[in-house]
Amino acid sequence: MTKYSFWIYLLLFFLQTTICLADSRTAPKQTPEQFVRNFYQWYFEADKKSVADRNDEIFKYISPKTVEHIRSNIRGSDEYYVTKANSWTDAWTKVKIIVSKTIYMNNNVCLVPVTFNVEAEKYHVIVFVDKKNEGMRIIKIADLYPYS
C-alpha cells in the first residue's frame, strides 16, 4: 500500500488543481471595475456606428429606468449622459478610459470613478453600480460639478 501512496497523493493533487481551475473558469467573478470598463468600451465602440443610447444592448449595463431617462432626454439636453461631455468631437474616438478603484458603499451599491482622457482634456465621472438585481447594473452616472 505504501508503495502506491505517493502516486495516489500525486493523482489527488492533480485532480484537485484541475477541479479548482475548472471551477474558477466556469464562474468568473466580475469586479465592478471590469464591469464599468466593459460598459464604456462597448459604448464607445457602438457609438461609432450609430447612437449607442438607442442600442438595446445598453440594457446589459444600465438599469431600465435610467435608460428610459437617457433616451427621453436625448435631444433635450446638450450633455451626453454617460460621458457628461457637452460635445462629441473626433478626439473622443481615441478616448483613453481610466477606471479607478471601486468604492463600496453598502451591500448593494458601489461607486466607480472613471476618467476620460481626450487629448489634453480630462473628464471625471462617478458611476453608481447596483448589484441588487441579478448581475450588476449602472443606476446613475454623476459628474463632479456643483448642483444644477
Binding site: 458603499m105 453608481f128 446613475k140 463632479l144 448642483y147
Partner: protein
C-alpha cells in the same frame, strides 16, 4: 535647575505640538465639514423657522452656486423634497444623519463623503476643496436612479 527646565520644555513641545497639529488637521477635512454641516442644518431645521437654506450661515458649508440654485429651485417648486436629506420623511427633532468617518478623494479638488440615516450608507456628499476651503457642492442619493 536650568537644564531640568530645558528638558521639561522639550518634553512639553514634543507632547503637545503633534497633538495640536493633528487636531488642527482634523478640522480641515471634508468629512469634518459634512459632520459640522449636518449638525448645524438639523438644529436649524428643528427650530421650524423656515428652511435652513434661506439662512446665510449656510454659505459657511455649502458652495455659493449650489445654495443659490437650491433657493431658486425651492421657490419655483422644482424640488419637492428636502435636498440635504433627499427625503420628505426626515424628522429633524428625532432623526440624525450618520457621516462616514473617512472621505474618498475622486479628483484633484473633489472628495466624496458617504452618509446615511443609519450606518447603512444611502447617499454621498460631494465636497470641493478650493483655495484652502471645503464646501459641499451636491448630494447624490442611491435610491433615485439616474
Amino acid at each position: 535647575m536650568k537644564s531640568l527646565l530645558y528638558t521639561l520644555c522639550t518634553f512639553l513641545i514634543y507632547f503637545y505640538a503633534p497633538a495640536n497639529y493633528t487636531a488642527y488637521c482634523a478640522e480641515q477635512t471634508a468629512e469634518a465639514l459634512v459632520k459640522e454641516f449636518y449638525a448645524w442644518y438639523i438644529a436649524e431645521d428643528a427650530k421650524d423657522e423656515g428652511i435652513p437654506e434661506n439662512n446665510d450661515a449656510i454659505y459657511n458649508y455649502v458652495y455659493i452656486c449650489t445654495v443659490n440654485k437650491l433657493r431658486m429651485n425651492y421657490k419655483k417648486g422644482i424640488i419637492s423634497f428636502n435636498y440635504f436629506y433627499q427625503s420628505n420623511d426626515f424628522d429633524s427633532k428625532e432623526d440624525t444623519i450618520y457621516v462616514a468617518p473617512k472621505s474618498i478623494k475622486v479628483s484633484d479638488t473633489i472628495s466624496i463623503v458617504p452618509i446615511g440615516y443609519t450606518k447603512e450608507i444611502s447617499m454621498v456628499v460631494f465636497v470641493q476643496h478650493e483655495n484652502g476651503q471645503f464646501r459641499i457642492i451636491k448630494v447624490e442619493d442611491f435610491n433615485q436612479e439616474y
